[in-house]
């Protein structure tokens, strides 16, 4: 900041005369050199520009077409199921492939429930981590330790999380469930909440790293303004840093939610795979991704088509949430 203002003042013409004249000469020489090659450079730049915009245009088109094709092929593959029972998969409560009943509502509920809960559980942790990295320890050993462990967390394979969930979270949930025996809950340990806890840990890196980036970008002069008014650090975080970076934090949450919606392996291992709408968060359940993973291999053609239809629904849910998130971000963003 100081450097910047210093430079400005030199430009403003209050530097020593000798010094500034010298500077001007260098500037002229540079300008002269630039002139010599300017024609060539301009052409090159033009070609470069058109190649670049061509490449950008192509990749945008390519990705859009790819998404449409994916949607189309999902639709085609699931067509037998759609033909057989229309879109009743969206509302049907019963999933019984053996008798041709394909109601997907339990899985839709299971998916939204686990993801939303995971988001809720992870939020305080990811906020704390992002504040630690973006405000308290911007550099140094602590920052390095935290951020490399977060990176590590993001790189751990799904199956490891699932296994860890089985050995660590399941017994804890079992203990809690035992205390709830009078509510008709069987202490399996496999449940919606088990999956949510595992998911929460899995998505922390996504929301935390994005939130850290936006918190780092809060202008120093706004923080100083907060302090200059007598705010404590906590007050500055609460009244300046968090509100200022709200949209960015929200964007991170949307990203994390999208990731949670589609997470398959770890969830399939701990959610219980019960094809029923979960009565509460301690009941076992299933998600769209987990049911596809656990049933697809042994599915009859119609069953497989119904599972693909579920996949199509998951795809659409993901798209809807990401668009809604983008819309809110655009609408609420500062500046």
């Amino acid at each position: 900041m100081n450097n910047y203002s210093n430079k400005e003042k030199v430009k403003g013409g209050r530097a020593k005369p000798g010094f500034s004249a010298q500077k001007k000469e260098v500037g002229n020489r540079e300008a002269y050199q630039a002139l010599d090659f300017s024609a060539d450079k301009k052409n090159l730049r033009k070609v470069g520009n058109s190649i670049f915009s061509g490449a950008v245009g192509f990749s945008v088109l390519f990705i859009s077409v790819l998404i449409l094709l994916m949607l189309f092929s999902l639709f085609m593959t699931s067509f037998p199921a759609i033909k057989a029972s229309g879109f009743s998969i969206l509302t049907g409560m019963e999933w019984h492939p053996e008798s041709g009943k394909f109601g997907g509502w339990p899985f839709i509920v299971g998916t939204l429930m686990t993801s939303a809960l995971a988001l809720l559980i992870s939020l305080p942790f990811s906020l704390a981590i992002s504040l630690a990295l973006g405000e308290y320890y911007k550099t140094g050993i602590i920052s390095t330790i935290i951020s490399s462990s977060i990176q590590l967390l993001a790189g751990i394979p799904s199956i490891i999380y699932g296994t860890w969930g089985l050995f660590v979270i399941v017994p804890i949930v079992q203990k809690i469930q035992m205390g709830m025996a009078d509510k008709g809950i069987i202490p399996f340990g496999l449940s919606i909440i088990t999956a949510s806890v595992v998911l929460a840990i899995m998505i922390i890196p996504y929301s935390a790293s994005l939130a850290r980036d936006v918190i780092l970008q809060v202008p120093q002069d706004l923080k100083e303004a907060g302090y200059s008014l007598g705010g404590t650090r906590f007050a500055v975080i609460r009244r300046v840093i968090l509100p200022y970076s709200m949209t960015g934090i929200f964007a991170g949450e949307v990203l994390a939610f999208g990731r949670a919606l589609g997470e398959t392996m770890a969830v399939a291992m701990v959610v219980g795979n019960l094809r029923k709408v979960p009565a509460n968060i301690f009941s076992p359940g299933a998600t769209i991704a987990s049911v596809i993973a656990s049933e697809y291999n042994e599915a009859s053609p119609l069953h497989a088509a119904a599972l693909t239809e579920l996949g199509l629904i998951l795809f659409l849910i993901t798209i809807i949430f990401s668009f809604a998130g983008r819309y809110i971000i655009n609408k609420r963003s500062i500046k």
Partner: protein, 266 residues
Amino acid sequence: MENQLLNDTENKTADSRAVVKIENLKVFYDNVEAVKGVNMVFEDKKVHSIIGPSGCGKSTVLRSLNLLHSLTPNARIEGSIKLDDENILDQDPMTIRRRIGMVFQRPNPFPHMSIADNVLAGYKMNNIQLSKTESYDIVEYALKKAALWKEVKGKLNKRGTFLSGGQQQRLCIARAIAMGPEVLLLDEPTSALDPITTVNIEELIMELRESMSIVIVTHNMQQAARISDKVAFMYLGELIEYDTADVIFSNPTDKRTDEYINGVFG
């Protein structure tokens, strides 16, 4: 609450007295001495300018008055700064900052807050609960004092960032004076503004002078001459000369002051 605040600022007696005494102030950045034993007195109802070439330590002095040096991890401070005869360096920064307000070089209203909330930001920062009427009174009082009321009274709930640069800077002044400070610090408050807006801010400073002590850092010599009662010339971390504006601009004692004012160096 705000009544007390209004009375505080309006009932001050006419005779001016020393509010801030800087004694042998030294500020180090990583053991490099940026301010080398400065002594200065700021009085109530007077405008004090600090001038000097870039990097001479003007901002450092001003920021230490607001105790902002504690936000810079490599900064260390020695000496004393007395506000009403108590050394602020030993006191709670949060309390002191409410009594010594600060306006920065770049207008920095909070972009996520409405105009009214910007004015009330100090109260929010300090978790002071205000009733609706109290809030409104403070907003009106501060915006009127900052000569911004007429322009924004219809859009108090709009965001402050839609205002022009000069209006934003006046909003920042309103935000600082809403807390009823005894001293107002301004670090090159007009360097990012056009000449006409600059004149507006200067007029505003002259009005605020009626009710508080003002310390302003400026690179604009005419500005210092126009608004100051006293002018301090700093050079390489030292206070070279501190006297009335008349003396500094027409008859300075030190050769360096004379040279700086006449544009020989800078």
